[in-house]
């Protein structure tokens, strides 16, 4: 936990410095009230001070608790889901809602979870259609239609 919190502290110190840099063109005060740069600068100070305290604390009185678990298989599944979500988001408008959700469901069931049961196949096929019916048809929510108009 010590190394993780040290990293977190350093991250926020760097974030605070970045905020100071990004907000340099924003006025801190106007004639009689705080300007657009007032709150960001204040927050930057909080990031730098609190982040520094958290980082330094690891050498004086380290945080207790265990370090985050890093199971390669589990991390692999998480990365795969992120990649899959990225693909689905990129293809959602060109391909439409139902097709892109089919890709998502199939990718999860068959690619990540490697589940090839009848229930899995039915779930892959029916969930996108069911949600399309509920949201687009019954509730009138606008969903991307894509090349196939659904």
């Amino acid at each position: 936990m010590k190394r993780v919190d040290l990293g977190v502290g350093i991250f926020f110190v760097v974030l605070g410095l970045f905020v100071v840099y990004a907000a340099q063109d924003l006025a801190v005060f106007t004639r009689n009230s705080p300007g657009p740069g007032f709150l960001p600068r204040g927050l930057a100070i909080i990031f730098i001070v609190t982040g520094s305290v958290l980082a330094v604390k690891q050498f004086v009185r380290p945080s207790t608790g265990s370090a985050p678990s890093m199971d390669p298989a589990g991390t692999g599944r998480v990365v795969a889901i992120f990649v899959l979500l990225g693909i689905v988001i990129a293809t959602m408008e060109p391909l439409g809602f139902i097709v892109s959700m089919l890709i998502l469901m199939a990718g999860v069931m068959f690619g990540i979870e490697r589940t090839f049961t009848k229930t899995a196949i039915l779930t892959v096929a029916l969930v996108p259609v069911a949600f399309w019916t509920l949201f687009a048809v019954l509730l009138g929510v606008r969903l991307p239609e894509g090349l196939l108009y659904f």
Binding site: V4, D5, V8, F12, A23, L26, A27, T30, R31, N32, S33, P34, G35, P36, L39, P40, L43, I46, F47, T50, G51, L54, K57, S63, G65, P68, D71, A73, G74, T75, R77, V78, I81, F82, L85, G86, I89, M92, E93, M101, L104, M105, V108, M109, I112, E113, T115, T119, A120, T123, V127, P128, F131, F135, L139, G140, V141, R142, L143, P144
Partner: protein, 504 residues
Amino acid sequence: MLDSLNSLAGGFATALTPMNLLLALIGVTLGTIVGVLPGLGPSATLAILLPVTFGLPPEGTLIMMAGLYYGAKYGGSTTAILLNIPGESASIMTTIDGYALAKQGKAGPALGIAAISSFVAGTVGVIGLTFLAPVVADFAVSFGPPEFFALTVFGLTTIVLLAGDSVLKGILATALGLLLATVGADIVSGQARFVFGQIELLDGIDFIIVAIGVFAVAEVLSNVEHQASTTIFAVPRKFRELMPTWADIKYCRTAFAQSSVIGFFVGVLPGAGSTIASFISYGLQKRISKHPEDFGNGAMDGVAAPEGANNSETGGAMVPLLTLGIPGSAATAVMLAALIIYGFRPGPQLFTEQPDLVWAIIASMYIGNLMCVVLNLPLVPVFASILRIPYVYLYPGILVVCLVGVYSLSGSVYDLWLFLGFALAGYLARKVDLPPAPLLLAFVLGSLAERALTQSLVISDGDATIFFQRPIALVLLVLAVLLLVSTLFGKTDTFRKKVLEEED
């Protein structure tokens, strides 16, 4: 008081006609569905419904709208408890203990307590509207930007209560939430802040994107990482274990009581909203609870308090709308539009010029509240049983719902990419024990606080003592300081005791 009772009786006579009862039922049903589904807020649904209601009589329209407003409050707790998705900002506090209870196999009791608390506090809120409307209307008018700023500061200090073991990380999470709230065009100067050339960010970041990414998807990823391929929630088989017990209800009685009062009075303040009401109530309940150590880990009263305040707030929010013509929220703004379209003049004279309409709306809120609990309580075992579905089949559906919820905001793929970024951030935050609740709460309150601060200093021509010259603002600021000091001192004292125990 007798006059109010007579008028209320007349209102019931109007509200209890078959047509108006049907419209109330349609409203609460639609509202419950809207509340359950993230991304679909009651205000957007009301705006969509408005043209559809032109063929209806005015009292019928407003009865249906009030029912929808109410129903959405009930529905919001369902996804918050079952899926860790706060459908609206007021449900954030419910997710904290509600989802923890669901993981312990107590989703049913949690949903039941949420429904009961919503009913009790919602009824108290409408009673407050019935008898106290003219009195509290004056209170609402006396609340200006300095009072609002002090209220938001008080709200932000209650966030410290959610910091868990690491106050430093809680402060960092809160500050990060405040920073995210600054993204977009500054409301006073119009200058763009932290948009980095992205015009899509000029309007700021929508709450739903952050909430769904940081809460819901991060939770899904965390469960997937730990190989949750079987059912991760232990859902009881017996029906009676799917409902709250009398002991649960009795345990939550202080939560019912205080949330009713807090929700109503905060709801009266235009713009304060149910978010502030829910976490002031949560914070207070944590202070007075017999088992404050359970908060954050599955406290039943940690669900009852915010849900009660959330629903009692609807009664309070109707006060400025009906008595002053001031909408307290986006949803009541649509109702105000409906009143104007029908040719009514919202304001103090509405009670005298259109008593039949006003008292019919108030009476329908009693009926709508009852309909909501009658509709929702029997559905508790049904909703809780959703968690019996093996997680491998459940979580892809959750991801689909999240994508729909985000896309429905403005039909923008950019929002989806932003959501993915927040999902990654939320997942990493969990890995390093950075609490997400303070981040989200600060994100909601940040823009309110900054706007109120700027307005206050413009009014006072830069004189900061305005906050100490206004009694309500001063009291709230003092309470905030006391709360912060007592909480930090309490944590320091606990830490010191732990160190002393270790040395022994």
